[in-house]
Amino acid sequence: MSSIEIRLRSQLGDFSLDVSFETPARGVTALFGRSGSGKTSVLRAVAGLVKTPQGLVRVNDEVWQDENRFRPAHRRPLGYVFQEASLFPHLSVRRNLEYGWRRVPEQERQIPFHDVVELLGIGTLLQRTTQSLSGGERQRIAIARALLTSPRLLLMDEPLSALDHGAKQTILPYLESLHDEFTIPSLYVSHDPNEVARLADRMVVLEQGKVIAEGDAATILTRLDLPLAGYDDAASLLEGTVSSHDHTYHLTWISTHGGRIAIAREDLPVGRRARVQIQARDVSLSLRAHSDTSIINILPAKVIDTHDISQTQMLVRLEMDDGQTLLSRITRRSALGMGIREGMHLYAQVKSVALLS
């Protein structure tokens, strides 16, 4: 029963929500969809902030609500990070952090105050007033405040969307380290594929109040039948391990069972798990393994299917030898010239790789 099960059905005016999914009680599950798809409604229902007439919310072996029971929000051991930090303006930063922490019985506090403060790098902010914080700092406090209640489920509602690009980039590493430091499962609402690619293990895709796909983030992100793949920045995720460092050319090699990938030198221990993101537009295809090219990362792959995204361009979904998926965006003209078809073996030339974590 180490899973989170959510079944919700409600009608709010014109909007009907009918969502049902189960996800492992570990890692980050992204609730993904455009605005108005019902992501936030799901999150609020899970938190008990709204009462859905028909619903089941189960976290591991604890049922938070079913037909007969409804635990109000304050009796659900969860942490909630809202889109805007929503710090209490009448309390200092420290008091904000302590608000939830004090309300959890001592023996149930699993996360030490100090650890959270350190992890989120907010030690110097404790004595400040909330008014004096930057947007990024405020959101870090909000995340810390939620964590300090030792939640059994962390709910995050687009916690980065109200921040500018710079602040987003500074917070993402904190969110990633959350993932590594604490074993709290989380539901993460987002409409940004990049964010999801960096943070999510699993994805539930919502459209008009219904689940249209769910599964591993790497799979979902590259499925051509989903609207995601049509996004300009369609990308694929590859998992691997750090295998070696090339001191001469300043590279770090990450190996997957489907091939080796080089990235710019990163100070990571050999053997560490690594996740990289590859934009579909950065992957070109070739029928042969060229050695007369400037591109280092050349991976053998097999065509699974194709999908036209405009009159000019198409996406090709490829499978590597180890089963991981790679997306490539090429022109329809090239595809025709190469005679691309399902089952065809070829080489993917990867121009640029981003290390996510």
Partner: protein, 225 residues
């Protein structure tokens, strides 16, 4: 000239007690009005605002009827062995509470509305029970609203005259409040006494209002995000 302090103390007591009761009664009403979406909410709003419309002597007259031995409230208080309320300090308190109700409910309702749903939701995801979050989040955040409500209710009760005159019967030490005393002095051409009381009333009220507004201003500044 012997200065008669009795009306002064009586007035302060009346204003203090009424304000306290009004805050206790008005807060849940205002909270409900700020949150509720039922159709009859507007009816309740209108009822609460009615004392603003009625001239004080008219309101006093109806209170006299309602609270009197033949009125519905009077029958109730009599059957409870409490006697009737007119001509008692308790009666003045009841009248002031009704009369000043809109001055408490409306600022509180505004404060609660402008607070929005979010802080309360945040508190509930941080394990705070409804009562807990009301005390630790709603009240501190709505403090300017509470101050305004308290100031208005206190000031309004101090200055209240028509209703008090009607329901009080001008009994020294029991229902003869400052405004009535001043009126008496003016009517009987004892301008010296009247001026003294009126000047004292004005100075005191000004001091109270100024203090509270200054406090309020500082609070507002602190709350600016």
């Amino acid at each position: 000239m012997i200065f008669d302090w009795q009306p002064v103390w009586l007035t302060l007591k009346l204003a203090g007690v009424s304000t306290l009761i009004l805050l206790v009664i008005g807060t849940p009403i205002a909270w409900w009005l700020a949150r509720s979406t039922t159709w009859y909410k507007q009816i309740i709003s209108a009822v609460v605002a009615l004392p603003l419309v009625l001239p004080p002597t008219v309101l006093g007259f109806y209170l006299l009827i309602m609270l009197g031995p033949e009125g519905p409230v009077g029958r109730l208080t009599q059957s409870l062995g409490l006697g009737t309320l007119p001509f008692t300090f308790g009666g003045l308190v009841v009248a002031s509470v009704i009369y000043s109700m809109p001055f408490v409910v409306q600022p509180l309702q505004n404060a609660f509305q402008s607070l929005g749903q979010r802080p309360v939701e945040v508190a509930s995801t941080l394990r705070a029970s409804p009562w807990d979050r009301f005390m630790t989040v709603v009240i501190p955040l709505a403090r300017p609203g509470f101050l305004t409500a308290a100031v208005l209710s206190f000031a309004h009760t101090i200055g209240e005259f028509g209703v008090v005159l009607m329901i009080g019967g001008n009994i020294p030490g029991v229902t003869k409040v400052l405004s009535v005393a001043i009126y008496d002095h003016v009517e009987t051409l004892e301008y010296g006494q009247a001026h003294l009381l009126a000047a004292g009333l004005l100075a005191f009220s000004f001091a109270v209002l100024l203090t509270l507004y200054l406090l309020n201003g500082r609070l507002n500044r602190n709350h600016q995000p």
